[in-house]
Subunit: 305 residues, 2 copies
């Protein structure tokens, strides 16, 4: 098991930049959160990440690990495209490296979360793991035979646009019937509002389960769609375990029970992989970014104790 | 590039056992075909494979590579389950090794075909490849970052049962809407016969394209379903190239043109991988079995010339 020792990690999200410095035992010694200045343009976003990293780097820190959404080139440390952040060809790793004078890695946030799950969460005892992060959209990290799947152009794991209903609900991607058009947070809110009622977040819908038939129907269609997409992923990749992450997992068994049912129903002739909720919470991406930085710079020296 | 030199390969199929001995240049020197005695029980099937291997092993042969459909344990060389062959826990590799006194490997036939494509077909210049074998059923071999995907229990690539139409056509697996229920050879024949007309093979349907509206519709639904399943696979695994193999590929551009169209339509925001027909024909499994045997026993000595 790798521990995130002696590194700083920064998780660049659509609304918040989270950062942490991990000490010799791999425990976060200091953390910070700042708003992402995504409306102020690319330079402001890059500068905010540099600021967060610089604020935490100190004596003993050996490397910095970054993670972000979008189309990432891990070799060059460039974010080629991140719609929610307004970034195009942003050389994020180089900007941070120039400021702190340390090795800097950049990883896709969902793949970082998947690595954290593999090293420190529910993936430590399996070689074939799927981690699906349920948020506004849906994305997945895949570990096959112990190795993360990148894909030919680095964008494997685009789970959200798996088609589950031919000619179904319209998705933000302009196509129809994507799993995200049913199980994405934004989609659930949009579908619920069509009934004439109000909801600000997916949590509002979850809170009404059992007492509001519209909430029940939308949630049932969401978990069914998610189960169908997991069927396909299992058929192709033969996962041993599926871990669900992201805010919606606060629903607990109201999420896992129907998803497991939908998954097993679509895998009549084989045993379904287990479906669990990540124990790592919202910090999984940050932890994974730290782990990638450690992996890139070799094992940490033994703690002095 | 690996060449299948100095090995014998045997491809155990549902109706035919094919075998070949490959010489120093990796060229097949001698081949044989015998019917698979699948109605005569497990011992008869194993004995027929042993007979085929023994007939071709001669001086200079260093190893034997086997391939077969079903649930294969490549470590132990056992076929745990192969419905069409009537096999359960058949120790095929050990039986052949006992008879010929050489190292013997056993590989899944579709993964063997995928390896042949990777080494000697259309996959030599890519790291992320999907090979879909279109037959009675549909199965896929996946290469990701240059490595074959096995899955947690060794059954990755179950492409045929990807759901493409919720509550759609009933499949042989007892579920509904699987891609195989539209694009599998047996399914196409069954769907065509429902119109009251006769067809013995998928080729009969293909031959009537352009002159028979029922053939056109069934073919269109088949290629559309195949395209939809390829969308999902591309989203998850980000293939650089998709290679179609199996008898139905004789349809040529009548297959590739609509499949490419369906694939691109489902990948609106990204470039679709290229879709090509395998140049290796029905011998791809045999060739791949030979390649796995070579890989397991190290490179061949240089030919003397």
């Amino acid at each position: 098991m790798t521990r995130p020792a002696h590194v700083v990690a920064v998780d660049l999200g659509g609304t918040t930049i989270k950062a942490a410095r991990y000490g010799p035992q791999g425990i976060a010694e200091e953390t910070l959160r700042i708003p992402t200045p995504s409306s102020k343009g690319q330079d402001a976003v890059v500068a905010a990440v540099v600021q967060a990293a610089t604020a935490l780097v100190g004596p003993g820190v050996r490397a910095v690990g970054l993670c972000a959404p979008g189309l990432i080139d891990t070799e060059t440390g460039v974010i080629h495209y991140a719609a929610n952040l307004g970034l195009r060809d942003a050389p994020l790793a180089a900007a941070v490296a120039d400021a702190v004078g340390l090795p800097v890695t950049l990883q896709h946030d969902v793949r970082a979360a998947c690595m954290a799950e593999r090293q420190l969460g529910l993936g430590t005892d399996v070689s074939d793991l799927l981690v699906v992060v349920l948020g506004t959209g849906l994305a997945a990290g895949i570990i096959s035979d112990g190795r993360p799947i990148r894909g030919g152009t680095g964008i494997a794991g685009e789970f959200g646009h798996i088609p589950v209903h031919a000619d179904g609900e319209r998705c933000s991607c302009s196509q129809h019937g994507c799993v995200e058009a049913y199980a994405g947070g934004q989609a659930m809110i949009r579908r619920y509002r069509r009934t004439g009622k109000s909801a600000e977040t997916a949590a509002d819908i979850i809170a009404r389960l059992g007492t509001d038939a519209d909430a029940d129907r939308i949630w049932s269609e969401a978990t069914d769609a998610l189960g169908r997409a997991l069927v396909t992923s299992t058929l192709l990749l033969d996962h041993q375990r599926i871990v669900l992450a992201g805010g919606v997992t606060a629903a607990g068994t109201r999420l896992t029970v129907p998803v497991r049912h939908s998954l097993q129903r679509g895998l009549a002739w084989r045993t379904a992989p287990t479906v669990e909720i990540s124990p790592l919470g919202a910090g999984a991406g940050l932890l994974g970014a730290a782990l990638y930085a450690v992996t890139a710079t070799g094992p940490a020296p033994a703690p002095l104790n």
